[in-house]
């Protein structure tokens, strides 16, 4: 019991005094996202990307970490082995482990927005900077019409902003898709969704914005389950003269079936197209609809950023080729953001050392003041809420065998693309 108290006292003393830096000091970066369960493939790809970013940094700096620091990545898993999905209890423990480790200066995570809502107050109270590669729920960083009233304040008990994210938010994606549809020349949209929070939510955002900008929504309905028959909705779309069907779906909520039915029921032959959000943009979609020829020239997709294989800048090409060579598979779209997050963190460690001490406060300050940083996803910084200043959505079509032709899309693009 006494020993425990001594440990706690020492830890508190360290926290109060700030862990000060010396040359050759070890700095730990804890990462937390699912490494088991349903999203294991995505999580593993993100972790691979973080390690690759560190490797590249060391290779470019003669094997030296930022300012001579030794950087160590500590990968944690926030998925529960029983449910196979992220678990709030485990996420809280992970955040606590970082807070309790005086060498942990950066907490990187999470993948799921719900998990971030658990860890953010913990890292915030301890003054540890948190950087997320993937969270897209708007309320984590700012208030929005569809958010809870006390967001984002509940995530910031200290009143300070300590959480920064690299990916763009959902409340932009739906509207940007609607504006893009106008630019592509569509006039009458039929909107379908899966009645779930993400799918119906993004469909709502699409419809609200469509009405504002004069894109005609001819009809709307939902599929209750992935086993529901989508043909009736297609009948309605044909009857009402739709030229586009927008589907708010994820992979396992019926999206692939809608695309399949559009092909089989002759809607694609009629020139009617399909557009969907990032929830169904995945290599698995190609397999589930029965081949690339079903999607080719018939479908459009939106995604918060560039797909790894399409990165054209020098850093992106290097990431993609090295990743494929080292791991023998395609990187997941979100791994690009994990790589970018690590770049930002390493850059901030370098800036922090210029202040004389590398501790939690100086690293947090360095991340906060990130501006005009040239990384794998282009030049960006963080605004006062912690959001990416250059967060961008891209629209993709499907040319022959893959998602292709990225176009930057915004909720205002319909004004200038005519």
């Amino acid at each position: 019991m006494l020993a425990k108290r001594v440990v706690v006292f020492v830890l508190l003393a360290l926290l109060v005094l700030g862990v000060s830096a010396q040359d050759g000091q070890t700095v730990k970066i804890y990462t937390s996202w699912p490494l088991t369960g349903g999203t294991q493939a995505i999580g593993q790809s993100m972790l691979n990307a973080v390690n690759l970013a560190l490797e590249h940094y060391l290779a470019d700096n003669e094997g030296m970490g930022p300012a001579g620091l030794t950087v160590q990545v500590v990968p944690l898993d926030d998925a529960s082995p029983t449910s196979g999905a992220w678990d709030g209890q485990i996420e809280a423990e992970n955040a606590q482990r970082c807070v309790n480790d005086p060498e942990c200066l950066v907490y990187m995570g999470t993948y799921n927005s719900g998990a971030a809502a658990v860890s953010m107050p913990i890292t915030n109270a301890a003054g540890v900077v948190q950087v997320s590669p993937a969270n897209s729920y708007a309320g984590l960083t700012r208030s929005c019409p569809t958010c809870a009233e006390d967001e984002p304040g509940i995530y910031r008990p200290s009143g300070e902003v300590n959480y920064f994210r690299v990916a763009a938010t959902d409340d932009v994606q739906g509207p940007a898709a609607a504006s893009w549809a106008v630019c592509l020349g569509f006039e009458n949209v039929y909107v379908l969704d899966d009645t779930q929070a993400y799918g119906a939510g993004i469909a709502n955002e699409f419809v609200n914005h469509a009405e504002e900008i004069g894109l005609n929504v001819v009809g709307r309905s939902s599929l209750e389950t992935a086993d529901s028959d989508p043909r009736s909705a297609l009948t309605a779309a044909l009857r009402d003269g739709a030229d586009l069907i927008y589907g708010g779906f994820v992979l396992d909520s019926g999206g692939p079936r809608v695309v399949q039915a559009m092909y089989d029921e002759g809607l694609f032959d009629e020139g009617i197209k399909f557009m969907g959000p990032d929830g169904i943009l995945s290599a698995a979609l190609i397999e589930q609809v029965g081949g690339a020829e079903i999607l080719a020239n018939n479908t459009y997709f939106t995604f918060p950023g560039l797909l790894p294989s399409l990165l054209s800048n020098e850093q992106g090409v290097r990431f993609y080729t090295d990743y494929v060579e080292q791991f023998g598979e395609e990187p997941d779209p979100y791994s690009v953001y994990a790589y970018a997050s690590m770049q930002v963190v390493l850059n901030a460690l370098g800036s922090a050392s210029e202040t004389g001490t590398v501790d939690r406060a100086s690293v947090l300050e360095a991340v906060r003041s990130t501006a005009d940083f040239e990384g794998i996803i282009g030049t960006f910084g963080f605004d006062e809420n912690g959001d990416n200043t250059a967060a961008a959505f891209y629209g993709y079509d499907f040319e022959s065998d893959n998602f292709s032709n990225p176009t930057a899309i915004t909720p205002t693009m319909h004004e200038t693309c005519e």
Partner: protein
């Protein structure tokens, strides 16, 4: 032609097609209930089994898409194999899970059936994966009516669906009405003990009933795959629920009632999807069921026994 009318006629066809595969599943429900008064909740999962096992059999060969020449003959051959395998599976389930419980309370086999359903679904997910699975496009989707309308469709797939399911329904009805075995099944359904005294091997009759019911569900799963091109491990739950509703609507235990109920549900679903919205279809279908049970518990065509026993 007016697009409103075209859409309505299109939905009539959609409703009939949903009714076709629901009817095949509902027949198995109603036959089994008629004989041993068990609602076999695992029955919908046999439909899924038919889908997956036929997919696996197709995968053994290098089949052209769409089917051509001699490969068209593969359809009935594979269908026979699927019927035997699915029917066999149902017989095994009856032998292992239901027969030992035949003397116990009504609830024991009911709960067991739910358990069997969960087991089957977990096994499918393990073997074939938990994703939406694509069923290759063996049957083309060219529209015979394309000169006539852009909304109404009748394709080779519809031809296959109606051409397989409707003869099966008629054949089963004739089989039960006209053959010795059919007579034995009806006798066992009416009074098991008396039938046994008359020298009918009741256990064998029950096994045959499970075999036929399972086979029909299996063939429905295969046709469904060819028809829609997609399925997943858990879909039997949804279709089983609708088929069971169809059986109750028509009168549980009543063969013609199951078919009628399935077509009513298919039609209600298609029309409510178009005119009210897909998110309301289930509400409407199950409201129908509740009204039916309140005002006419024995179903439209009358149950072979009163439903109060359930």
């Amino acid at each position: 032609m007016d697009p409103q009318l075209e859409a309505f006629l299109r939905q009539v066809l959609v409703g009939l097609s949903i009714g076709c595969y629901l009817a095949l599943i509902a027949l198995g429900y109603t036959m089994v209930y008629g004989i041993i008064e068990l609602i076999n909740f695992a029955h919908g999962d046999l439909f899924t089994f038919g889908f997956f096992i036929s997919l696996t059999i197709w995968g053994l060969f290098d089949v052209p898409m769409p089917l051509q020449g001699a490969w068209i003959l593969a359809l009935p051959l594979i269908a026979v194999v699927v019927v035997v395998l699915t029917g066999g599976l149902n017989v095994v389930i009856e032998r292992v899970a239901y027969r030992p419980l035949r003397g116990s309370s009504k609830l024991a086999p009911l709960i067991t059936a739910v358990g069997v359903s969960f087991m089957l679904e977990a096994i499918y997910a393990y073997i074939w994966g938990a994703n939406q699975i694509n069923y290759p496009r063996f049957i083309p989707t060219t529209n015979f009516l394309s000169d006539f309308s852009r909304i109404i469709r009748f394709t080779p797939r519809d031809l296959l669906l109606f051409g397989v399911t409707i003869p099966l329904m008629i054949g089963l009805t004739l089989f039960i009405d006209r053959t010795r075995l059919g007579k034995a099944m009806r006798a066992a359904a009416q009074d098991r003990e008396a039938a046994a005294m008359m020298g009918i091997n009741v256990n064998r009759i029950i096994a045959i009933t499970f075999f036929i019911g399972g086979g029909l569900a299996g063939i429905a799963g295969m046709v469904y795959g060819l028809y829609t091109g997609s399925g997943r491990f858990i879909m039997g739950f949804e279709f089983g629920l609708f088929a069971f509703t169809a059986a109750v609507l028509g009168g549980i235990g009543n063969i013609r009632g199951a078919v009628l109920g399935a077509f009513i549900i298919g039609m209600v679903q298609a029309m409510s999807d178009l005119y009210i919205g897909g998110e309301w279809s289930r509400v409407i279908i199950f409201s129908l069921l509740i009204l039916m049970l309140v005002f006419r518990p024995s179903g439209i065509l009358g149950s072979t026994q009163s439903v109060e026993k359930v």
